[in-house]
């Protein structure tokens, strides 16, 4: 019984490593999740463009492993059939691992058609007035972040 079990474990381990190897060869396992919604889960896509604090960059399969912190902006996902999906993210992280798996974790994300221009403009103006009336450094910094996010939303919708 134990022997059978160990053999079956060996077999399953091998099949796992094969999958990983194949994944490394020509496609990436792309996970894109936000606090409110999951967009992709271990999906295979052609290309992902992300905005990060060290500059926007594109991720293709076999990208060099790296970590990055997202800044407010639009993530563009090019799927295997060439269709393009644009998603706005407020903040988050990008992880690209050695096995070509890519994880994008965002605090909040929404596709562009879910965003409303009028509401975004309203948020921008209220954030601006908040920044002007802020007393402490911390409040000012928080308001500045709100302004940055709102500005990017307005820009990305337009």
């Amino acid at each position: 019984m134990a022997a059978v079990r160990s053999i079956s474990r060996l077999l399953s381990q091998r099949s796992v490593s094969q999958i990983v190897r194949r994944g490394y060869a020509d496609e990436m396992s792309f996970t894109f999740a936000a606090g409110n919604q999951v967009f992709y889960e271990s999906a295979s896509v052609r290309q992902v463009d992300v905005p990060s604090f060290s500059g926007a960059f594109g991720i293709l399969p076999k990208h060099v492993p790296t970590l990055a912190v997202l800044k407010p902006g639009v993530i563009t996902v090019t799927e295997n059939d060439g269709s393009i999906k644009k998603v706005f993210v407020s903040s988050g992280t990008v992880t690209i691992n050695e096995d070509s798996s890519v994880q994008v974790i965002a605090e909040e994300a929404a596709t562009l058609d879910q965003l409303d221009l009028a509401a975004a403009k309203e948020t921008l103006s209220s954030a601006l007035s908040q920044m002007n009336s802020a007393q402490s450094e911390k409040e000012k910094a928080e308001a500045a972040i709100a302004v940055e996010v709102a500005e990017t939303i307005v820009k990305s919708i337009e």
Binding site: V64, G92, T95, I105
Partner: protein
Amino acid sequence: MLGRVGNLALLVCQNGPQLQQQCGMATLKAISIRLKSVKNIQKITQSMKMVSAAKYSRAERDLKQARPVGEGAKMFYERAEVEPLAEKPQKLYIAITSDRGLCGAVHTNICRQIRTILNGPDAENIKIVCVGDKSKAILQRTFGKHIILSVNDIGRLPPTFADASRLAAAILQSGYEFSSGKIFYNRFKSVVSYATTDLPVFSLATIQAAPKLSIYDSLDDEVIQSYLEFSLAALLYYTLKESACSEQSSRMTAMDNASKNAGEMIDKLTLTFNRTRQAVITRELIEIISGASAL
């Protein structure tokens, strides 16, 4: 408590036949009071079950969304093969519970794991963060000096990412410099089962010492620091969701069992009540008849 007193009265009455008539009435009254209270309790547990069933289905839906967040956030630690540093033993344990009880052993399991570790060697380098009043209540008395932070108002509403990031910020600003840590939470498996598990968290220094970090390109400390802060929030968000779901499902089971037990008790009490009533009637009849025949 009340129920036990009622039972006692019953026993006392059966032992003293000379007081039987008066006592028979008292017993009847006691049983009916008790029956009523058990029925009320059953109503309460039944409605609590309904409430937690509704909350559970929502929590499970939320959990499906939150799982990739947690899986993604912990993937880096696994891939980079980060290990706790031997020379810096400061550890931080985060207990994810909630404010509410009546949900089986979800909170006790978390606290038991932590207690076992704290009773072992090296306990002086471990600090605890209690999320939810329950873990604080359980751990405070014996391990009060290990607790550096406790958070409440968890479990009333479903946890949000904002909650998790506030919690992460509070942990990072607590001033405790840990090199590694663990988040203890209940991983939801199915409606009837959950597993108490832990997820690792690491500090900047520990990540930098990881053997496989060098394969990651263009990293500076600031990026890793922000990355870690965000991933702590993401992990906390994920564990809060898992725990909330386990808690609701466990409460559902607990309340279902409580209703079933109350039902059994009601059956037994009704039987005793009817028997006693019958006995009282019979005795009264005998008294009347024997009284009449004596004349």
